[in-house]
Amino acid sequence: MTSNAYQVVWPRSAKSVSVRPLAPRLDSLEGRTIGFVWDYLFRGDEIWPVLKEALAARFPGMRFVDYETFGSTHGEAEHQVLDGMPKLIGELKIDAVVSGMGC
């Protein structure tokens, strides 16, 4: 340390959220219901049908809930759509969610 030392503090601040565990993963996708929530960007409307087709071919009995059920997760209704998601997940007995698109 020099005689002209500056003692400085951290310019950031505490995170206001603590680390939480992820939801338990599924044993198998067979017979499961998957919902697709989408931000209405970057070709999610083309990718979702491909995913559905591939997953249904591999896992018998899968059921899918399409993005129109939820509404756009990016836009003027984002907060409203996200607030309504837990209720829809419960009511529609959704076992897992695919969320797109980060591009």
Binding site: M1, T2, N4, A5, Y6, Q7, V8, V9, W10, P11, R12, S13, A14, K15, S16, V17, V19, R20, P21, L22, A23, P24, R25, L26, S28, I34, G35, V37, D39, Y40, L41, F42, R43, G44, D45, E46, I47, V50, L51, A54, L55, R58, T73, G75, E76, E78, L82, M85, P86, I89, I94, D95, A96, V97, V98, S99, G100, M101, G102, C103
Partner: protein, 466 residues
Amino acid sequence: MLRASAVAELAGVPTASLCCEGFVGQARSTSEGLGFPNLQVARVPGHVDVQSADDLRANVLAVTVGDVIRCLTEPVAAVTLGRDPGPREIVFSGSFEEVNRFFLENRWSDGLPIVPPTTEKIAEFLAFTDRDPDEVLGRLLPDNREATIWNIAVNGVMAGCRPEYMPVLIAAVEAMADPVYGVEHSGNTPGAETLIVLNGPIARDLGFNYEQGALRDGFQPNTTIGRFWRLYLRNVAGFLPHHNDKGTFGGTWRVVLAENEEVLRRIGWPTVAGDMGAPERANAVTISRFTGSNVVASVFGDTAEKCLPYLADALVSHTTWEVIFTVGMSTGMYRPMLILSPVIAETIAKSGMSKADVQRWLFDHARMPAERFERYISGWTNLIPGKRSLLELSRLGKAPRAYGASIDPQRLVPIVGKPEDFVIAVSGDPLRSNCYVLVHNGILGFPTMKQVTLPADWQDQLVRAS
């Protein structure tokens, strides 16, 4: 996209978040602030915008499907995060050069030298507010860190602000933390930059420049508060380039724009803050995020009728994909700004037009052909899915009726939802006929106004500071 995943995980169901290859790193950084640092990401190779339908399908089948299955079925190891320092903890001690190197190495600096944030300097800033240093003004995504009076002072010191700017810094952060503004979008790829507009007597008290060079660096309050904004986004909200800040090009922070209120009073027009609901002569900041800007040089004419067509043309010609905020991604939330130099504002006012009259005129005349509008939202871009025409969108109730008024593709449609969506400011060289247009980022940085609260002994403090 990740915020939706976090909601689903919290609701107890596993998620897979679809990310183009170049955004996996950002997803990891953003996940931390959501409280789920190990959110599971399914990759989409390359970028979807430049792939044929066949290539996209092949990529999804080859990579994304397997990733989705892994995300939803394979156990995920728990993650713990390291301990953060306390706000008053001394994190380093050293010379000016050593402090600056330390801050650069920790990515707490923007590359310019910072003023070392010592507790003595911070105390000078805190003297200019009556508020508790530990007061939390809000929580800022993506890092989800607390915005506090204390860390406003810390970053204000670093930016080279003077202590008496503190009330303006607090108001700016209050606006940043307002959900209406949408700070969480500040790292999106268009890389837009916020403009802080300052109104009220405080602009004169603190020596803001609002005349020639109003948007140029070189004036301490305008410049350092602009720099503070970007440092605060970096250090508290957590927007770091190559991590949570994915601006494809980005841009340097903007200096604060102060309005010329002597001219506004003379012509009887309200200030920007007044338009946003602030009382007359209130000290206030209005923040808004703009994707780009340009000068409208040498407006020629001695009446409003002669000046306004060029200004309307500038607003239309600079507005391109941003119309998705008028119709598509949101409805009527595009708020471009027009800065009039005083001589042009006075020329227009001399013709008997109020600011509201100008906004109405611009609404009626700053229009573009429907066909061009449609190309911006879903022809040249793919920002609005479905490739629907404005006519269809209007019939479906997804666009105002004015957009479906006829089938003529050349019909002219408004670029904003209503006249007052044009934000008009007066500043710059009082005796030059240039104007300035700023193109807006819609809901991803919506105009937000906060009044500046002064400490009880403001005038005494100012005298002491000077």
